[in-house]
Subunit: 320 residues, 2 copies
């Protein structure tokens, strides 16, 4: 049988990540193009198509060898049709992305939410190791998620499944969230949430490293982790609180899903064991014993490639 390739395309707010991927998941070539959000992002399908055509020529791969394109978008997706209900950062609203890319490229196209794609990627070649039951949590500027159950990604009734960042964790008096609610997980456990909490707590610790760094006004979540590992009590208090909240939220999700793997990705996950150890402890406190005994935590392994690898998997999984 002749060689077959998949194309992964991960559309983000500033760049579109693209990759040509072999059947075994090996990346032959990866590259990025600028995401042109002018004119409500209308030119993006064409930009992607042209860039793929150029790369195939450059890589000397004929189009017949491409089984399809698997694309991710940061928004709500009808995965049956590739129709985007809404992707705020791109400017898409009721945008027929999948069909447009299909018409232009002449290739089969499958589309899913970008966080779901990352979960599929991690499950295929990263920390998930082909699990049938997986919860992926992305801790970045916001908190995203993807859930695999019975071996399938959950999309839900209108493409809004696994929006883990918007689980309510502070019932009353929580911080306002972009979604319009208050007390969402995202307001507590994202990089932004960690900084917000650090700023709030710093006043209670006038002698802390946290308090002194605060005046520099460029505090990041990474700083908080660093100060905590250097013994700063204020920073430790912030992280203890965040990890307890995150552990409870994941335990509650795990009670619904009964996962085998829980994969933590995104910028904040670079803290590694410093994050995983207290998180697992909090998780055990709030999870049913049978649930905890069935599941293990892992840090995501594919980094920024998770989306394009997940896109390739979408093609692999759906091709005839």
């Amino acid at each position: 049988m002749s060689e077959v390739y998949f194309i992964g395309a991960d559309v983000g707010g500033t760049t579109v990540k693209l990759a040509i991927v072999k059947e075994n998941g090996e990346i032959v070539h990866k590259w990025e193009i600028h995401t042109n959000t002018d004119n409500q992002g209308k030119s993006i399908p064409e930009d992607i198509h042209k860039s793929i055509e150029e790369k195939l020529v450059e890589q000397e791969i004929t189009k017949e060898k491409i089984a399809g394109i698997g694309a991710g978008a940061p928004g709500f997706v009808d995965t049956n049709t590739g129709f985007i209900y809404e992707a705020v950062n791109i400017g898409w609203k009721d945008f027929d992305f999948g069909n447009k890319l299909k018409e232009l490229s002449g290739l089969p196209v499958w589309v899913d939410n970008d966080a779901n794609l990352a979960a599929l990627g991690e499950n295929w070649l990263g920390a998930g190791h082909g699990s049938q039951e997986l919860i992926a949590v992305t801790l970045g500027t916001g908190v995203g998620g993807g859930i695999i159950s019975n071996g399938q990604i959950l999309n839900g009734a209108n493409g809004t499944a696994a929006e883990i960042g918007h689980v309510t964790v502070i019932r009353e008096g929580g911080a306002p969230c972009n979604c319009g609610k208050t007390g969402c997980l995202e307001t507590e456990a994202s990089a932004t949430g960690i900084v917000r909490k650090a700023k709030a707590i710093a006043e209670d610790y006038p002698e802390s490293s946290l308090k002194s760094l605060l005046s520099s006004d460029a505090l990041t979540a990474k700083d908080v982790f660093e100060m905590a590992s250097n013994g700063d009590e204020a920073s430790q208090a912030v992280l203890n609180d965040v990890m307890d909240t995150l552990g409870m939220a994941i335990a509650n999700l795990a009670i619904a899903i009964n996962p085998e793997k829980i994969v933590i990705g995104g910028g904040v996950s670079q803290a590694g064991e410093q994050l995983l150890n207290p998180l697992q402890e909090a998780f055990k406190k709030y999870a049913l014993r049978r649930i905890a005994s069935a599941s293990s935590f892992q840090i995501a392994q594919l980094g920024n490639d998770a989306g394009v690898i997940g896109g390739a998997y979408l093609v692999k999984n759906n091709q005839k």
Copy 2:
């Protein structure tokens, strides 16, 4: 094609509910036998088998017309093999229920958790109406659940998915739960939880109907609903609090699953609109707008038949 029948068997702590069901879901005959929990429930497969044989003779249905048995057990089930990890009320622990029943009956047998079976039954012929995405919540002595996503019941890594009653809703200082944790949904929103909360709040309302009934010492959740609908402030305060908690817990689950239907069953659901109206209001407060817009609440319709109907569906869905 000649007529085909399914057998549903719903094993509970005191009775086993049984039914012969037509392909369209119509119950030809239903009956109950005593659950013999002596000797760790070892005789149950044989009891079920014998009872089915008798009924088939009585109903003049030959065994060739039976496509299989779909059975439910109140515990943790390996649905691939019908093996019961544990079913405390029955006395089963590592019990090979499915294979035993298969050997005795000579029929194909499929087994699932009883709450999952009830969810499947409601989704086939009751309030679910064949939804691909459904959350079923059973409010009885405890709080149980079943989740259908991508058209399939979620079982999870070790048969513990959808144990909705054990989601943590009171983070600190919640009531102790049978599972060993505190603050589980079951301690707040079950019939038992409602009575517990009513007793606790009654002292604050010395003039209330609730306080006066309390001395009778046989307070039920039904009483609390009745007093609330008659204008008793104390009872209303209890139910407002319970529905707010339940609404938040279901909204958080819905953020994972993005359901089309949310079906509320069990004894407490007999309160109907008196339960649904405040519950839906609380749900909307805590759910993402896109999630709320995609989902509707229903009271379960099949009552005690949900389990055997779900058992029949298990056969229907798995038969070749």
